[in-house]
């Protein structure tokens, strides 16, 4: 049951979620008594590729032809399935991020492989192969039995701790034989902000709701996020009102995140909001209404006015970071 893990790169670099994935693949391989091969597509330096070995990859395949640098889900699925077949991989591990959501279903059809999507822990059983996944937007969890010969697992971000042990894994060039047709899709424009922590990558998130009262009140919230090295988010009414950009909306129909700590400021905690944040390791609620449902989901709470509490929190964080 050899395990293949697809390690996406961002401008030639891996990030924390890559190492979570490889560590997860290594743990799955251990359960099944097999080994891990990592597959990288696109241009990545040897020194960067070596890092994959430190998280448990025994072999690293690098498919680095020039035409593979631009992401295309059809081409990626073709290459990953070719590698899986060559390696005799029975388990494929991919991230449940945007790329994984585009590639995993295509791979499933190509290989007739069942998918355990958005898994947040190791398989519950190997025979029958059973995984644990979030359903009903976090209101229930399911034991999903994957019956196919090849199994695909997409791992939820920040749900598995990366484990590093120095190891020198072999790096092999992987020649792609699949016919990679030039994509018919034409990219007209790309707009990217750089230097900002992505909400989905952030370990710490400070999020504001309607209780913030006005878009003009956001400065202390943003300051708290930046003092903590975290990202900012918001509830749906806030993004609908245009107080904050759409991509900050966390909740059932917005982003689903699982940071180490989620600080909800002036958010009452409707079911739909909790659906997007309930996998956070810690939830902190700051709200004037002591009966707000957010306090039922939170481990730490402050009943009080955000405008008074936030500046004090910023000061306290600056004090410990001195």
């Amino acid at each position: 049951m050899s395990v293949l893990v697809y390690t996406e790169n961002w401008d030639g670099k891996f990030k924390k979620l890559t190492f979570e994935l490889v560590s997860y693949a290594a743990a799955v391989a251990k359960m099944t008594g097999s080994s891990v091969t990592a597959l990288s597509i696109g241009k990545v330096d040897e020194s960067e590729l070596r890092k994959l070995g430190n998280y448990g990859a025994q072999k690293i395949l690098s498919a680095d032809a020039d035409q593979l640098s631009v992401f295309d889900s059809q081409a990626s699925a073709a290459i990953i399935s070719e590698a899986a077949i060559k390696q005799g991989a029975k388990i494929i591990v991919i991230s449940n991020n945007n790329t994984g959501k585009a590639v995993a279903p295509r791979l499933s059809v190509r290989l007739k492989a069942g998918v355990g999507s958005g898994v947040s822990k190791l398989p519950l059983d190997i025979n029958p192969f059973t995984v644990y996944k979030r359903t009903y937007s976090g209101n229930a969890f399911a034991h999903v039995v994957i019956k196919s010969d090849i199994k695909i697992l997409t791992l939820a971000q920040n749900s598995f701790d990366p484990a590093e042990t120095p190891n020198n894994a072999a790096i092999e060039k992987f020649d792609v034989h699949s016919e990679i047709l030039p994509g018919k899709t034409k990219r007209r424009d790309i707009q990217k902000q750089s230097g900002k922590i992505l909400l989905t990558d952030a370990d710490i998130v400070v999020s504001g709701g309607r209780g913030m009262k006005s878009p003009d009140n956001w400065a202390p919230l943003v300051e708290l996020a930046s003092a903590l090295g975290g990202a900012t988010a918001c509830s749906r009414p806030v993004s609908d009102e245009g107080w904050r950009p759409n991509e900050e909306h966390t909740g059932q129909t917005g982003k689903i995140i699982a940071p180490n700590v989620y600080i909800a400021v002036g958010i009452s905690g409707a079911t739909q909001h909790l659906a997007g944040i309930s996998s956070s390791k810690y939830i902190v609620a700051i709200n004037t209404d002591k009966d707000a449902p957010i306090f039922e989901a939170a481990q730490y709470g402050i009943v009080g006015d955000a405008m008074k509490v936030l500046p004090k929190l910023v000061a306290a964080v600056k004090e410990i970071k001195k």
Binding site: V109, A142, H143, S148, Q299, V303
Partner: protein, 249 residues
């Protein structure tokens, strides 16, 4: 051009989920079934395009895989304004099965743009749209938060890590849709509700497809520990707890 919107019926998003039959399924008593939120937004945008003569979109069809008991949700889509509706007469054991059935329908009926929601709010799989595109061997755009038609070309905006990408898509293609595609879901007007009552729903029998996964049992999430309250006059204590007790900052 013709648009297909794939729709799933899901419990209303405020439903308190209860388990039944030895936790092998959810208790459906009292559940209000609705169109999956992203599918509803897709339908709204599809109808806006159809109603804009310049777009060249002639019709909007909805397709659903489900038993006859799920027809109210299809009627709702017709009432909102869909021109035609298709139901594949089968339960939905897993994403692979559902996608295979929808791909068969698309092969028979031929559509130019196929909308699928990014996920259904019940199984949270994010799989069906991508699977349909691979079954049909056609391009897909994932994370689509905007679509317009310019001189017969579909231009989509998709969210990528830290930004947006604008793509020109060749038809046919699958748009896997998320928030932003339409502002508010369109609501059925009385006239639409009356018209929907008499519209035909085309029913297909399912093709023989073997599902690849099944759910053996459900669990309720573990209850969280009780909230520990910190004095609003001394919020610095929170920072201390996050650092020294929770060890997360």
């Amino acid at each position: 051009m013709k648009i297909l919107v794939c729709i799933s019926n899901v419990p209303d998003t405020t439903t308190k989920i209860k388990l039944a039959e030895g936790n092998s399924t959810i208790d459906t008593a009292g559940i209000q079934w609705v169109i999956n939120p992203w599918d509803e937004l897709s339908l709204t945008r599809a109808l806006e395009l159809r109603d804009d003569a310049a777009s060249g979109i002639k019709s909007v069809t909805v397709a659903h895989v489900g038993p006859a008991s799920s027809e109210p949700v299809i009627r709702k889509a017709l009432a909102i304004g869909a021109d035609e509706a298709i139901r594949v007469n089968a339960n939905s054991p897993d994403a692979y099965y559902v996608a295979a059935q929808l791909a068969e329908v698309i092969k028979k009926e031929q559509f130019d743009i196929i909308f699928c929601g990014i996920e259904s709010s019940d199984y949270n799989g994010s799989l069906v749209g991508g699977m349909i595109s691979e079954f049909l061997g056609i391009p897909s755009a994932s994370g689509v938060s905007g679509i317009k038609i310019e001189n017969g070309t579909a231009v989509v905006t998709r969210d990528i890590d830290g930004g947006k990408e604008i793509l020109e898509m060749p038809v046919p293609f699958v748009a896997v849709v998320q928030k932003g595609i339409a502002k508010e879901p369109k609501i059925a007007a009385m006239r639409g509700i009356m018209l929907a009552r008499t519209k035909q729903i085309k029913v297909y029998e399912p093709s023989a497809v073997e599902p690849l996964t099944n759910i053996s049992v459900f669990e309720k999430p573990a209850p969280r520990s009780a909230c520990r309250f910190i004095d609003a006059e001394n919020p610095g204590q929170l920072i201390d707890l996050l650092r020294n007790e929770a060890k997360v900052i």
